[in-house]
């Protein structure tokens, strides 16, 4: 049944449906409403969890690490600076292969200070070894959150559910939440094979010398690759239960005969789809590729999705200064050995919350025709605002 809910409120309720035993979080814009809603659920007795109000994101991540290591389901949420303050723990959690779920309300990273949406935060920890799933709308965010608990358990990997800060977290829209009974039946009780247990004492997080470290990394990498199938399977299973899917690893829409493709992560693609719908008569249509799983990276699915394209526009919501777009670079690498692969046009946009209008579709398609266009640009930067030497 649909309800008109603010994204953050819906996420809090979705988390509650998964019955985490321990929740630890530190407030940061734009994640705050998630923590507040969780606190309210606890205060009203609608959620039974050990809610640990920590003194920093660093401790939030550490608390959920300890909780999950001790064998219970745990959850945290953060954004931006919080992700970076957690960074050391995030690598640690993943390296120890601890199943956890964390919502990232994607926000730019300071300086300059910006509380607004882009993907700089989760991108900064892309190599931490967490699964990273991006959500296109609040329904997907709810569904992905619940799925994430199962993916984490099945893969023994931590899962980051990335949702655009403000654009999703603070937006009210009709959202369907499953029944408690449905989730209880769908989500198995928490299991962690290496949990701390006085009846079977184990040492976790030990020192590993050079003679074993490479093997640890190899098995982590292998687990991430195996997670591709799990992510897709869990989404299919969820569809069986609710009739709703989130697109598995990636989702392709738009006309099959299109020669232009547009790939994006998160909420951007909805606006682009509307731009395509409202485009002028002379503007070409495009195949839209919604990249849901950023880590692990679905190379094979992406190659298939790009089949027959002449051009692929890759939209990044963060940049790697001195290189360009991270998603664009990775897509190019994956398509590099594909015969007749599309030409990549990589643009960053919507950095630091810059509003993306639907007219961007037409502008993006038009930019393909420009033979002098650089391989990468910040598409919506207004260079007139800069001193001449910085343009």
């Amino acid at each position: 049944m649909l309800e008109a809910l603010e994204g953050s409120q819906a996420i809090a309720r979705a988390v509650a449906l998964c019955r985490p035993d321990v929740v630890a979080a530190y407030p940061i814009t734009p994640q705050t409403h998630i923590v507040e809603n969780l606190s309210r659920l606890v205060a009203e007795g609608d959620m039974h969890t050990e809610f640990v109000s920590v003194e920093s994101e660093f401790s939030a991540a550490s608390v959920v690490l300890g909780a999950a290591a001790a064998g219970v389901r745990a959850y945290t949420a953060t954004a931006s600076q919080g992700v970076l303050l957690m960074a050391e723990v995030l690598f640690n959690i993943a390296g120890m292969r601890i199943p956890l779920v964390m919502t990232v309300a994607n926000r730019a990273v300071s300086a300059p200070l910006s509380i607004w949406n882009d993907h700089s935060d989760s991108m900064a920890v892309r190599d931490s070894g967490w699964i990273q799933l991006h959500c296109a709308d609040n329904q997907e965010a709810v569904d992905t959150t619940i799925q994430a608990f199962r993916i984490a358990q099945e893969t023994e990997l931590p899962v980051m559910v990335c949702m655009d800060g403000f654009v999703l977290t603070h937006t009210m829209e009709p959202i369907a939440l499953p029944e408690q009974k449905e989730v209880d039946n769908w989500l198995p009780p928490f299991e962690f094979s290496r949990r701390l247990d006085p009846d079977d004492p184990k040492s976790l997080g030990t020192l590993v010398a050079p003679d074993f470290f490479a093997e640890v990394r190899h098995s982590h990498h292998g687990a991430m690759l195996k997670a591709l199938d799990v992510i897709a399977a869990v989404d299919r299973d969820w569809e069986g239960l609710t009739g709703r899917a989130c697109g598995g690893l990636l989702e392709v829409s738009g006309p099959a005969e299109a020669k232009i493709g547009i790939l994006a992560m998160g909420s951007t693609l909805g606006t682009i789809a509307m731009g395509m719908e409202h485009r002028g008569p002379d503007v070409a249509s495009a195949r839209l590729i919604k990249l849901r799983a950023f880590r692990p990276f679905p190379a094979e699915a992406l190659r298939a999705a790009c089949d027959g394209l002449d051009h692929l526009i890759v939209i990044d919501r963060a940049i790697s200064p001195g290189l360009g777009g991270v998603v664009g670079t990775e897509v190019a690498a994956v398509l590099a050995d594909v015969p007749g692969a599309p030409r990549i046009h990589n643009h960053a946009m919507g950095l630091g919350g810059r509003d993306i209008p639907e007219t961007v579709y037409t502008d993006l398609v038009a930019a393909i025709a420009d033979p002098d266009a650089p391989a990468f640009s910040i598409f919506d930067a207004d260079l007139q605002k800069l001193a001449p030497e910085d343009r």
């Binding site: 321990v22 920590v54 660093f58 401790s59 909780a67 001790a70 006085p198 030990t206 074993f212």
Partner: protein, 355 residues
């Protein structure tokens, strides 16, 4: 009473599962010595890779003996973590996790929350060195105490970053040399005071915090047992000499630790809810030079004819005198608490390393 029974049963159960061969029965009529009366569960077993004479390894073993088997540990990065768990080996016989340098208190908070959620009363311990406690892990520790988690935090204080090779910490005593506070023409070692951590901990008004020393094992173990019985945050800082970092002979660990207490530089006190409730009295107060002279880290203070050295020695003596005055450490007559400790670690009927 029922809790004690439960613990006892669990202990024997676990000992059966993981313990060594039981000792042969004792001849009738012989009484337990105080040491023999201690629980014998070896939470931290032998075979680890600590240096000879490591005060921290000894302290951790003593803590684990008293804490018993129904515990789990979050261990900060540091010597203790490194020398006990070179993968795939581990010297721990209890569930143990190491995450990072600065988050042992927070990881322990999560473990404790998990135990609460599960309805279990397995006690969570957090271990850190002085680096992970006084310095980088200080915020997480303060948060844990403020949130009132049921955790015993033990700081093994060897007064410098020993794991990375003897760099100064905020626990390094004034004028001690480390690789980042060397003595030279312009400097007399560390220029700053040892942080008074116990006062800061006490300011959280937690049920119990105390200082202890490896030189007084009976006292240390009593404090651990007392803390274990409290449902709430408790804190213990254990003075643990590091022969490598303090530059003394490995055989002198206990003697050095004892002299730190006996000169007043490391007072053994107990604080409950912010108030000092007990101190270990010093029968014969020694001059601080008795303590300093055993250690290479203070060698620059012992040079005759150096006015700077004289001034620093006087400063350290003043610090010790201050402690003795503030805590009323000057005891009269025999002290009932520490004798068992000294006897227990003595070898061949003679306290180890007595010079």
């Amino acid at each position: 009473m029922s809790v004690a029974n439960e613990r006892g049963e669990r202990l024997s159960e676990l000992r059966q599962k993981y313990g060594r061969e039981p000792l042969p029965p004792r001849a009738e009529g012989t009484a337990d010595t105080p040491r023999e009366a201690q629980p014998k569960f070896r939470g931290l077993d032998s075979g680890h890779r600590a240096c000879q004479g490591c005060g921290e390894a000894l302290a951790a073993r003593l803590v684990m003996e008293s804490a018993g088997p129904d515990v789990m540990i979050a261990n900060a990065t540091g010597c203790l973590e490194v020398f006990t768990t070179p993968w795939p080996q581990s010297a721990w016989r209890v569930p143990w996790v190491h995450s990072l340098f600065e988050n042992a208190a927070a990881v322990a908070s999560g473990m404790e929350a998990a135990m609460k959620a599960k309805g279990r009363n397995t006690k969570v311990l957090a271990f850190g060195g002085d680096g992970g406690t006084y310095d980088i892990g200080f915020q997480a520790l303060s948060g844990m105490l403020e949130r009132y988690h049921n955790i015993l935090y033990v700081c093994y204080d060897n007064e410098a970053y020993m794991n990375t090779g003897i760099q100064r910490s905020s626990s390094t005593p004034h004028s001690a040399t480390t690789t980042t506070s060397p003595a030279g023409k312009e400097r007399m070692g560390k220029r700053h005071l040892k942080k008074d951590l116990l006062s800061i901990i006490a300011a959280h008004h937690i049920p119990y915090s105390a200082s202890a020393s490896v030189a007084f094992p009976a006292d240390l173990q009593r404090k651990v047992r007392y803390a274990m019985g409290i449902d709430g945050p408790t804190f213990l800082v254990v003075h643990s000499p590091c022969p490598l970092g303090w530059r003394h002979a490995s055989a002198l660990t206990i003697e050095v630790a004892r002299r730190a207490v006996e000169c007043g530089l490391f007072p053994l006190v107990e604080v409950e809810r912010g108030a000092v409730t007990n101190v270990m009295p010093i029968r014969n107060v020694r001059p601080v030079t008795d303590y300093l002279e055993l250690q290479g880290r203070f060698a620059h203070l012992m040079k005759g004819g150096d006015a700077r050295a004289e001034e620093e020695r006087a400063h350290l003596q003043a610090l010790a005198d201050y402690n003795i005055g503030v805590f009323g450490l000057k005891g009269e007559g025999e002290d009932p608490v520490d004798t068992g400790g000294i006897a227990a670690v003595g070898r061949s009927g003679r306290p180890a390393g007595r010079v």
